[in-house]
C-alpha cells in the first residue's frame, strides 16, 4: 500500500451567505497516482481543490498534504506542490522564459526555465511574449509554472477547459509523463474523456459530495454492462404503439433504459443478443430515425447516478 499524498476527512465548506459548497467530503489520493475529481460545474470541485491547495480555509474537516497540515507546515507543503488555478492571467508583457524564471525564484530548489520549457514543448516560444501565445500554449505555460518547483504533487483545476482537441492531447501527454515519473496529480475536470484517459482513479462529485469512487473501468463496470445503444423513434405513421420503457427493459441483455426527449438509451451487456431483438420489437412501432452503439462512459455512470448530465444542456455523446 503506497503512502498517501492527500488525505482529507469530512471536509465541509460553507461560504459566507450560507452556500454549502462542500458537504462532508472524504478523499485519499495515493502517491504516484493520477486522481480526478469529475463533476458538473458547481459540484464543489474547485472549492475542494482550493482547500487542498491551502488557498481557501475549510469550514471544518481535516486535510493532510504530503504528511503536513495547513497551518503547521505551510512552507513545507508549498515547496513540494505545484498548482494551476482555473483562471490565472499571467502577465502578457513578459516572455515565457521570464515568467518561468520568476516562478522558479519562489522555490528553494526546482527546475531551470530551460527544463520546464522543454517539459511542455514551448522551446520555439521561449522568448515570445505571453500575450502572443495561443490558448493551448498559455495553458502549457501555466502547467510549466506549476512544475517550476519540481513538485511531488501537482494540483490542476480544469487544465484543458476551453482548449481544442489537439491542445488537450498535448496537455494529457505532459501530465502522463509527469505521472510516469512516480509523481502524484490531482485534477478536476468536467470532461469524462479526460478522466477516462488520464486518471488512475476518479471520484465523481455532485453537490459537494463524492457519489462514486474507483478506476474509470470499475465505475463503468458498475453499470452492469459496457455498451450503450441510443435510438430515436419517429412515431408518425406508426402501425403499432411504440415500445414502452418496460417493454425495452424486458429485452434480453438490456440492463437499464433511459428516456430523454426523443432519445432512448439502452445499457446492454451483450449487444449481439440485444440488437436483433430490439429491431424486431421496433418493427411496427414507427420509423427508426437514429440508431447507434457505443462503449459506456463515465458520463453514463454520472447520468445513471444523478439523472443529469455532466455538462448541462448537452446531449449524450
Amino acid at each position: 500500500m503506497p503512502a498517501l499524498a492527500i488525505r482529507c476527512k469530512n471536509l465541509v465548506k460553507r461560504y459566507p451567505g450560507g452556500v454549502l459548497a462542500v458537504r462532508g467530503l472524504d478523499l485519499e489520493v495515493r502517491e504516484g497516482e493520477c486522481f480526478g475529481l469529475l463533476g458538473p460545474n458547481g459540484a464543489g470541485k474547485t472549492t475542494t481543490i482550493e482547500i487542498l491547495e491551502g488557498i481557501l480555509p475549510p469550514t471544518s474537516g481535516e486535510v493532510e498534504i504530503l504528511g503536513h497540515t495547513w497551518g503547521n507546515g505551510d512552507i513545507e507543503i508549498r515547496k513540494r506542490i505545484g498548482i494551476s488555478l482555473q483562471e490565472t492571467r499571467l502577465s502578457e508583457k513578459l516572455t515565457v522564459r521570464e515568467t518561468l524564471r520568476l516562478f522558479r525564484s519562489f522555490y528553494p530548489g526546482g527546475l531551470e526555465p530551460e527544463q520546464t520549457i522543454g517539459l511542455v514543448s514551448l522551446e520555439e516560444k521561449a522568448d515570445a511574449r505571453v500575450g502572443k501565445l495561443s490558448g493551448g500554449q498559455r495553458q502549457r505555460l501555466a502547467v510549466a509554472c506549476a512544475m517550476a518547483g519540481d513538485p511531488a504533487l501537482l494540483f490542476l483545476d480544469e487544465p484543458t477547459t476551453g482548449l481544442d482537441p489537439q491542445s488537450r492531447r498535448q496537455i494529457w501527454e505532459i501530465l502522463k509523463r509527469f505521472r510516469n515519473e512516480g509523481r502524484t496529480i490531482l485534477l478536476t475536470t468536467h470532461y469524462m474523456d479526460e478522466a477516462e484517459r488520464l486518471c488512475d482513479r476518479v471520484a465523481i462529485v455532485d453537490q459537494g459530495r463524492i457519489i462514486a469512487l474507483g478506476s474509470p473501468r470499475d465505475l463503468i463496470a458498475s453499470l452492469g454492462a459496457e455498451h450503450v445503444i441510443d435510438i430515436s423513434v419517429d412515431d408518425g405513421g406508426a402501425t403499432a404503439p411504440p415500445p414502452s420503457e418496460g417493454d425495452l427493459r424486458a429485452l434480453p441483455g438490456v440492463t437499464s433504459v433511459r428516456v430523454e426527449g426523443s432519445t432512448i438509451s439502452l445499457t446492454v451487456s451483450e449487444p449481439h443478443v440485444a440488437m436483433p431483438r430490439l429491431l424486431e420489437r421496433l418493427g411496427g412501432g414507427g420509423s427508426l430515425t437514429r440508431l447507434s452503439m457505443r462503449h459506456a462512459s463515465l458520463e453514463d455512470v454520472f447520468v445513471t447516478l444523478t439523472g443529469r448530465h455532466l455538462r448541462e444542456g448537452e446531449a449524450p455523446a
Partner: protein
C-alpha cells in the same frame, strides 16, 4: 550560488520593471505628459508673453497716425482693418483693444473683464499720447523681475514634481495591485512559497526606481530648457521626494487593498486625487483658497509635499526646517501602509 541566481525579490522587481517599460501608455503618462505640461504652461506664461498687446486700428480718420505711433513700438501688434472686421476679430479674442479715430481724438473699445485688457488700454493710450507730444510731469523708472527663481515656471515645476509623485504612487501601486488581483495572479503567487513581504517590498522598490528617472527627467528639462535652479541641497530634495513617494505608495496600496475591480479602483483613485489636484497648489497657490478652507487644504498630503518641495527648490530651505511636512507625509505613509497590510486581500 543558485540561491543568488533566483533571488525572488530581484525577480519581482525585474518583472515589474519589464512590465512597466513595455507599457507605452504608462511611459506616456509618467514621462511625456509632465514634460508636455511644463512646455505648454511654460510657453503660455513665459516672461513677457503678456506684455504683447494686440491692437486693431479701424480704417478711417487718424488711422494712419495711430498705426505709425503704435507700430514704432515692437510690443504692439497693430493691424488696420475695417469696422466689421475689427468687431469680428475682437469677438474671437484676437485683439485686446480697438482704436477708432474720433474727430480730434481716439475712442478705445475693450472688455475690462478680460485679463490684461485694462493694462493694454492704458499702454495704448500712453503710446498715442506720447506720440502726440505728451510729457510726463514726474520722471519715473521701472525694474522688471525676470530672473530665474521667481517666475511662474519656477513655481510650477515643483508642483509638477509633486503631482507626478502622487500619481505615480497611487496609480503605480493601486492600479497594478488590483490588476494582478483581478487576474488571479496574486492568488497564484501566494500559492507558491513566495514571501508576501518580498512581493510588497518589490512593488514599492520598483516604484521608487521608476521615480528616480521620472524626477530626473522633469528636473533636467526644467534646468536645461527653463533655467530652473535648485537652491536647496540635493540631499534635502531627495529626502522630501522619497518620503513623499513612500507616503503616496502606501496610500495607493490602501486604496487597492480590498477591491478586485479595475473600475472600482480607478474611481477610488480619482476620488482620492481630485481634491489634491484642485486644492494642493500644483498650478496655482493653495494660499488662494479662503481661510475657512485652509485646514482642509493644509491637511492634504500633496499640499505638504508641494510646500516642502517649493521650500527646498525655490528658497533653498534646509531639511531641518521642513521637518513638519516631512513628518506629516511619513505619518500618512505609515498609517496607510499599516492599514493596507491589515486589510490586504490576496485573492
Amino acid at each position: 550560488m543558485k540561491h543568488v541566481k533566483y533571488w525572488p525579490f530581484k525577480q519581482l522587481v525585474l518583472v515589474r520593471t519589464r512590465e512597466f517599460s513595455r507599457e507605452p501608455e504608462a511611459i506616456f503618462w509618467v514621462y511625456v505628459f509632465p514634460i508636455l505640461l511644463m512646455f505648454g504652461l511654460g510657453i503660455a506664461f513665459r516672461s513677457g508673453a503678456d506684455q504683447e498687446v494686440h491692437v486693431d486700428v479701424v480704417a478711417g480718420s487718424r488711422a494712419e497716425e495711430a498705426r505709425a505711433a503704435l507700430g514704432s513700438d515692437p510690443r504692439f501688434q497693430v493691424a488696420v482693418v475695417s469696422p466689421e472686421e475689427a468687431k469680428a476679430r475682437f469677438a474671437s479674442g484676437k485683439t485686446d483693444v480697438i482704436v477708432e479715430g474720433r474727430g480730434e481724438g481716439y475712442r478705445y473699445v475693450y472688455d475690462p473683464s478680460r485679463t490684461g485688457a485694462e493694462a493694454a488700454r492704458i499702454r495704448v493710450n500712453d503710446a498715442l499720447q506720447a506720440a502726440a507730444g505728451r510729457r510726463d510731469p514726474v520722471p519715473s523708472a521701472s525694474e522688471l523681475i525676470t530672473e530665474p527663481g521667481s517666475r511662474y515656471i519656477d513655481w510650477l515645476i515643483p508642483g509638477l514634481l509633486g503631482m507626478n509623485i502622487m500619481g505615480g504612487g497611487l496609480w503605480g501601486l493601486g492600479f497594478v495591485t488590483v490588476d494582478m488581483r483581478m487576474r488571479k495572479l496574486l492568488k497564484r503567487f501566494v500559492a507558491t512559497p513566495m514571501r508576501r513581504s518580498d512581493f510588497l517590498l518589490a512593488l514599492m522598490a520598483s516604484r521608487l526606481m521608476f521615480l528616480v528617472t521620472e524626477i530626473g527627467v522633469i528636473l533636467a528639462v526644467g534646468c536645461l530648457a527653463f533655467g530652473l535652479q535648485v537652491k536647496g541641497s540635493l540631499l534635502a530634495l531627495a529626502v522630501v521626494i522619497l518620503v513623499g513617494a513612500a507616503s503616496f505608495a502606501g496610500l495607493g496600496l490602501l486604496v487597492a487593498s480590498r477591491t478586485d475591480k479595475i473600475e472600482t479602483v480607478s474611481g477610488l483613485l480619482n476620488l482620492v486625487m481630485l481634491p489634491m489636484w484642485l486644492l494642493s497648489g500644483i498650478f496655482f497657490s493653495a494660499e488662494r483658497f479662503p481661510g475657512a478652507m485652509q485646514p482642509l487644504v493644509q491637511a492634504l498630503p500633496l499640499t505638504q509635499l508641494n510646500n516642502a518641495l517649493r521650500a527646498v527648490i525655490l528658497e533653498g530651505a534646509p531639511l531641518g526646517s521642513q521637518w513638519l511636512p516631512v513628518a506629516a507625509l511619513a505619518a500618512y505613509g505609515i498609517l496607510a501602509f499599516g492599514a493596507a497590510l491589515r486589510m490586504f486581500k490576496w485573492q
